[in-house]
């Protein structure tokens, strides 16, 4: 047999069917983020219909958002077990069922369940797998793929907002929910496009059994570390199982809690949880603030449209910029800069008193918002690697869930207490600048530590092969998969280390 071909650990395709997957993710992510926002059009009518207060209706939105983010770990576990495709298709079905049953609701409590929980859970099953599968199909062009897929959110919002208005004017809220249920079933179409990838895992496992580990390690060094360590981890788990089952390892197969020991993951988690405190509140209050300064309703709505259009363009553009050879190795810095830039916009907003000033603010806000969103998942993938990303994204979203829900109400309390919107903007700006600075400093530290560890590993590898026992070799691989800084190795054009390993030691 020709081991070079059969045992070759394949890297992600970075193209081909991958672009179709990006389109599917575009649709899926778009629905997940834009749909809750688009529902706001119906709330006034539903409130009048059931005779409830506005806050009782707002709970529908909150429950939906909380479920979408809170069900992240469940989504991750399901993807780890079944892969992205069935999860997304089931999610789409769930969303459809949720909205269709919402059309027949006779009380606000039933709406909480149908729209809030069921549809929210369905959207959670859409969001995570879509982001995960991009990491499986792309490596070199991943920032572009992420940027394009995340652009789905503003595009869907711009489509859903007038569509919802049209449906509402022609079919009332019940008919609209029924039709929206059918529209959400399109998530199943998006899911159908998510062809499973990573069939190479099966290939690698059988080859390992036949050929022995050393030869395989050699090949893996040639082909690129990131994907191989990703494939190696399940292989490692299997061999360790053969030796004696470890309970912790078994849980880790479903949801990787060892991530909490991962330095990069912790940095990302803390920085992002802080950032989300000030992320969404300005969007929620932009239109009310504009009306407060005396601008009429249509111009205030136009501000949000400007934001959405700039956002739409900013996301793929940021993806392209982040993919360039100057930025990609230092993408964490770029991300921290984007967050701090966002914060700076909010801090400067109170200075904008005229409509022109607010238009300028909206444009910059749209740009900053798009930059952060485009890189939101890319940076996490960069830190933990595609294999552990599945679990990482689940754990991150449930942590973010709390601050996302707290952000707008805290802003609202600030506005009500001081009677002035500027304190809310200052609070959001300060929180984000703080988060950006924290991430910048901590990532600098992380990059230094990774460079140090890389040096240590290289000096170990330069030893003759006979010194390397199987155990030590395995330890090295485990270290790789925990820190995964080496992911950047194939991409860095500097550093002779890469070239050495490419030629095989």
């Amino acid at each position: 047999p020709a081991p070079a071909e059969a045992g070759r650990a394949p890297g992600p395709p970075d193209g081909g069917w991958g672009w179709v997957v990006v389109f599917g993710a575009f649709v899926s992510i778009g629905f997940a983020y834009a749909f809750p926002k688009g529902l706001a059009i119906f709330f006034k009518e539903i409130q009048a219909f059931f005779g409830t207060s506005y806050s009782e209706i707002a709970w529908v939105s909150s429950i939906m958002l909380a479920t979408t983010y809170g069900a992240g770990p469940i989504s991750s576990i399901l993807v780890n077990r079944y892969g992205s495709r069935p999860v997304v298709m089931f999610g789409g079905l769930l969303c459809g069922v949720g909205m269709i049953s919402a059309a027949f609701c006779t009380s606000i409590l039933q709406l909480y369940i149908c729209v809030g929980f069921i549809t929210g859970f369905g959207l959670a099953l859409n969001l995570q797998p879509s982001v995960i599968i991009i990491g499986k199909y792309f490596l070199k062009r991943r920032p572009i793929a992420n940027g394009l897929a995340m652009a789905g959110s503003p595009v869907m919002l711009c489509t859903l907002a007038p569509l919802n208005q049209f449906l509402f004017d022609n079919f009332g809220w019940r008919g609209s929910f029924l039709i929206l249920g059918a529209i959400l079933l399109n998530c199943c179409v998006a899911g159908a496009l998510f062809r499973p990838i990573g069939a190479g895992t099966a290939l690698v496992k059988t080859q390992v059994a036949e050929e022995g580990k050393d030869a395989l390690k050699g090949k893996i060094t040639e082909d690129g570390k990131e994907m191989s360590s990703a494939l190696n981890v399940p292989m490692e788990n299997k061999t360790e199982e053969e030796e004696g089952k470890d309970c912790f390892e078994k849980i880790n197969q479903y949801l990787d809690f060892s991530l909490f020991k991962h330095r990069g993951f912790l940095i990302y988690l803390i920085g992002n949880v802080l950032m989300f405190l000030g992320f969404f509140a300005p969007i929620v209050f932009l239109a009310p603030y504009a009306k407060h300064t005396g601008i009429d309703e249509y111009s205030a709505a136009l501000l949000l449209s400007i934001l959405a259009v700039v956002d739409m363009v900013a996301r793929p553009t940021t993806g392209i910029v982040a993919n360039s050879k100057w930025v990609r190795p230092r993408i964490q810095y770029f991300f921290s800069f984007a967050i701090a830039f966002n914060g700076a916009c909010h801090l400067l907003c109170p200075l904008a008193s005229s409509y022109t000033g607010l238009v300028v603010y909206s444009s910059f806000f749209g740009l900053a918002f798009g930059m952060v969103c485009a890189m939101l998942f890319e940076t996490l993938m960069d830190l933990v690697g595609a294999a552990r990303f599945t679990s990482a994204v689940g754990l991150v979203t449930i942590a973010e869930c709390c601050t996302i829900l707290l952000g707008p109400p805290i802003g609202g309390i600030l506005i009500d207490t001081f009677g002035d919107y500027k304190y809310m903007f200052i609070k959001c700006g300060a929180v984000m600048v703080l988060a950006g600075t924290f991430l910048f400093i901590m990532n600098y530290y992380n990059y230094c530590m990774l460079a140090k560890e890389e040096k240590e590993r290289k000096t170990k590898e330069e030893d003759p092969k006979s010194v390397r026992t199987e155990n030590e070799g395995r330890k090295n691989w485990n270290k790789d998969s925990t820190q995964d800084g080496p992911e950047l190795e194939p991409l860095r054009e500097e550093g002779e280390g890469v070239k050495k390993e490419m030629n095989g030691t």
Binding site: R8, P10, G11, P12, P13, D14, G15, G16, W17, E45, A48, F49, G51, L139, K140, D169, N170, F171, G172, R174, G175, S176, L178, I179, G181, A182, I183, L185, N186, C188, V189, A192, L193, R195, I197, A199, G200, L203, D223, G224, G294, P490
Partner: protein
């Protein structure tokens, strides 16, 4: 321009069981857009309307007249640059537009419109379904004396009597300022125009609602169309995938050639 009605002050004092409400317009002293203010008056009250000249204005010592239509009203001057009239509104004929006119090098004026409170409600047609419930909500700024709901039969307005139609109509008082009509078990015959009327001591105002009743078939058509589209697309994608797998298997070698090995790092 900004809505000046937002600048209303709270009543300053109570006299003769009528509360006095003070309203003010500040004139910039430049002839341009005529300034207006809408004041809702539902029950008898005392009002003080003041026109104040901005300190930065070029107009000095103008000649001031207060008018309602063609009738002049005597005014007082509380400060050097403000002029006030005091009115006791106890009849509907006393509602209307009161203007202050300042004549000097230029002529500027401002108008206060005293009106019966308007009713807020849904402007677009209300869309409901057969067998469902229709809800119409009317809201006012000040509490009226009575609320009445009408339905149109032909060209006439017929008051809705809930005692004679207990299974069909329900009128709920959510608060003094919010009133609600519920129409149950809708049929196509309920399509039409409905009115809600708020009666104040000084007059009444009305609001029009249009009710449309659709059959369940109406949204079902686009629903079925979208579901069909989803099924067609999912089937197409599945068939394409099966076909392309078969095709690559036939070509030889492992079937899992899904990734282009040229693209490897």
């Amino acid at each position: 321009g900004p809505d000046l009605a937002a600048e209303e002050f709270k009543p300053a004092s109570k006299e003769n069981s009528y509360e006095v409400s003070e309203y003010e317009i500040v004139l910039p002293g430049v002839s341009g857009t005529a300034l207006q203010k809408n004041i809702s008056v539902g029950s008898p009250t005392k009002v003080e309307l003041t026109c104040k000249l901005d300190e930065k204005a070029n107009l000095k010592n103008p000649q001031v007249t207060w008018k309602k239509g063609s009738e002049t009203i005597s005014h007082t001057s509380k400060t050097q640059n403000s002029w006030t009239i005091q009115l006791t509104i106890s009849e509907s004929s006393q509602l209307g537009s009161y203007s202050c006119i300042l004549k000097g090098e230029v002529e500027v004026s401002a108008t206060f419109h005293l009106q019966v409170p308007k009713i807020e409600g849904k402007e677009r047609p209300i869309i409901t379904y057969e067998g469902d419930l229709a809800v119409m909500v009317c809201k006012t700024e000040d509490a009226p004396v009575t609320w009445t709901w009408y339905m149109t039969s032909g060209t006439e307005l017929v008051a809705i009597n809930t005692s004679s139609h207990t299974n069909k109509f329900r009128i709920k008082r959510q608060s003094a300022k919010v009133n609600r009509l519920e129409i149950l078990k809708l049929t196509k015959e309920d399509i039409g125009v409905y009115w809600c009327e708020a009666a104040f001591t000084l007059g009444s105002s009305k609001r029009r609602f249009e009710l449309k009743v659709l059959s369940i078939m109406a949204p079902l058509k686009p629903f079925v169309a979208v579901v069909a589209e989803v099924i067609i697309l999912v089937t197409t994608i599945a068939l394409y995938e099966v076909y392309s797998k078969k095709y690559s298997k036939k070509k030889g070698g492992k079937g899992e050639r899904e990734f282009d090995q040229i693209d490897q790092i």
